[in-house]
């Protein structure tokens, strides 16, 4: 499989000035060490709890945020270098698109559905002939699951699911190679979630897309992804194929996440659930970043080494990657 995106040791620190008389810079470490790659036509799931840096990672890939350190390569070329030149910048922008979590907020309230598409086409000078454009927009709309009559409507006249379809239409109309899906279904109710997910899968086959699918919902990620990376406090803690990850999670955090997923199976061990519950008293602790294992305070298996040394990403014999001292 050809590689389309590679992210290497990405870091993002946010700085904020605090204090009134004596100003001090407070540093928030949102993303600390993120590396992964996405192959052509592949869906990579990125999971983790709120505030772990998932969205920040996605926003760095589409250049909404500038990484503090590390590099992003699109088809082998460094994105930060491409951004300097207008043509190569547009080229990158055209190829990497994004679907936002809050579809309503991501649409300009003063622009109709078709105007959102027109804007994208205008920027990249695509389909300048009016007739050709008409046909193309109709095609994009039907591919995204919208009807022609909805073209001239404003965002507030749509339902939540339909708005996300406009978001999808806007992302695919430039014929990109990679789409960053930043929790695209988290704000929708479950029946609509299924429709959007199925639509995303259909479009992936139709357009030959790769996805980076960011979500905190394991069941959604399990459904759509080929491979999954798990993030915790700005670190990637585990990377594995979908099947291996769910059948045999290695990192204690992944194990905890999978156990915490609601299940309809009455045979699921209740005692195990209880141990997680007692563990939840210890919530995420950002002071552990760069000091020791960031998960040490919540980990049932944490030993002395976990409290003294930052674990590195290890590649095991069977090709799985995990960041944990136990392996």
């Amino acid at each position: 499989m050809k590689e389309i995106l590679r992210v290497e040791h990405l870091k993002k620190y946010f700085e904020k000035e605090v204090g009134f008389l004596r100003k001090k810079k407070k540093v928030y470490k949102a993303v600390n060490d993120v590396s992964f790659h996405i192959g052509e036509g592949e869906t990579l799931g990125l999971v983790g709890e709120s505030g772990c840096g998932k969205s920040t990672t996605g926003r760095m890939i589409v250049s909404l945020l500038r990484p503090t350190d590390g590099a992003i390569y699109y088809q082998g070329q460094d994105i930060s270098l491409s951004m300097r030149n207008k043509d190569s910048r547009l080229e990158i922008k055209r190829n990497i698109q994004m679907i936002f979590q809050d579809a309503y907020a991501s649409l300009d309230p003063r622009r109709t559905a078709e105007e959102a598409i027109f804007e994208a086409l205008d920027i990249h000078k695509m389909c300048l002939d009016p007739q050709e454009r008409e046909a193309y927009v109709n095609k994009i709309f039907s591919d995204s699951g919208l009807s022609m009559e909805q073209r001239k409507r404003y965002p507030h006249e749509f339902s939540g699911g339909q708005r996300q379809r406009i978001g999808i239409a806007r992302a695919i109309c430039l014929q990109p190679k990679l789409i960053i899906c930043d929790e695209p279904v988290s704000a929708l109710d479950v029946s609509v979630q299924a429709q959007i997910i199925n639509n995303l899968e259909r479009i992936q086959n139709l357009y030959g897309l790769s996805y980076l699918f960011i979500s905190h919902d394991l069941s959604v990620v399990k459904h759509i992804s080929d491979r999954i990376v798990v993030m915790y406090l700005g670190y990637i803690v585990e990377e594995a194929g979908k099947k291996e990850l769910f059948e045999q999670p290695l990192h204690p955090y992944t194990q905890m996440l999978i156990r915490a997923t609601p299940s309809l199976d009455p045979d699921v061990d209740k005692t195990q659930k209880l141990t997680i519950a007692s563990n939840e008293k210890n919530s995420i602790d950002t002071s552990l970043i760069d000091v020791c294992c960031p998960f040490a305070n919540r980990c049932p298996k944490a030993g002395e080494k976990c409290w003294s040394e930052v674990p590195k990403m290890k590649e095991l014999e069977d090709g799985r990657k995990v960041r944990c001292h136990l392996y």
Binding site: M98, A105, I123
Partner: protein
């Protein structure tokens, strides 16, 4: 189209529109409406009460009050228009730059605005008049300058609020340039408070220039200006009240008209209100 329909369904806005229409008609067709020249004095017929040849009567110098009020609309329109173009234009530009770019650009621009805000508009106008000499031109410049920070503050805060919206990020992801994001997404979505401020500023600037006229430093005595007319009428307020009533009413109705229309426009421009 929807915006217009919504505007017309608002009774108060329509009333405001009628007032403004009346005002504009007076300004445009002044020479055809009036029968007397306001600059001509008729000392044989001073302080004639309203009715007859002079519908609004004549003032202490025998000038036709009706002509004064009608021609005064021209002066007022000129003032309001200049203030909006000059004060509004500069203010909006400063507000956009400060709000969108932030950092030291914002700090420098907004501190200048703060220091301008520290002076009441009328005081600023008096300073300008004493530098540039009395007359309509310096009054207009002074009033425009006084309006700049009001526009700048409002535009800046709405730009800051709008630029954090996800649709601005979405446009950036599409590859839209900063300049186009400003004028295609941010400005159209922040137009409502600008329009309200414009309608308020129009009224305010009329009041301030009238106030300057009242103090005797605004328009020159020969030209028709409502504030100056009011000022002249003050001496005879007890004996010939009609001299003050008509220019006063003209100011009140015009300012009210702009405020009502601005209010209606704000509601009509709210896209979610259809």
């Amino acid at each position: 189209m929807k915006t217009l329909r919504k505007l017309f369904s608002n009774k108060l806005a329509v009333l405001g529109g009628i007032f403004i229409l009346l005002f504009l008609l007076c300004a445009i067709f002044a020479p055809w409406i009036t029968t007397y020249d306001y600059s001509v004095q008729d000392l044989m017929n001073t302080k004639v009460p309203p009715g007859g040849d002079h519908i609004f009567g004549t003032d202490a110098l025998g000038r036709d009050v009706f002509s004064g009020v009608v021609y005064g609309a021209r002066t007022s329109l000129l003032i309001g228009f200049c203030v909006l173009v000059l004060g509004g234009g500069i203010g909006i530009l400063i507000g956009i730059l400060a709000g969108y770019f932030g950092g030291w650009v914002e700090t420098v621009l907004m501190r200048i605005m703060d220091s301008l805000m520290a002076f009441p508009a009328i005081l600023l106008a008096l300073i300008f008049v004493s530098i540039l000499g009395s007359g309509l031109k310096s009054a207009i410049i002074a009033v425009s300058l006084a309006q700049v920070p009001r526009f700048a503050l409002i535009v800046r805060s709405s730009v800051i609020q709008i630029k954090s919206n996800e649709y601005v990020a979405a446009a950036e992801v599409l590859g839209q340039s900063q300049f186009k994001i400003l004028f295609l997404h941010i400005l159209p979505n922040g137009i409502a408070p600008i329009i309200i401020q414009a309608s308020l500023s129009f009224g305010q600037s009329l009041l301030i220039v009238s106030g300057l006229g009242f103090l005797g430093v605004g328009a020159d005595p020969l030209s028709a200006e409502w504030g100056a007319m009011l000022s002249d009428a003050r001496t005879y307020l007890m004996t010939v009240p009609h001299l003050a009533v008509y220019p006063g009413l003209a100011i009140a109705i015009t300012v009210l008209g702009f405020n009502l229309l601005g209010d209606g426009l704000r509601d009509a421009l709210d896209i979610k209100n259809y």
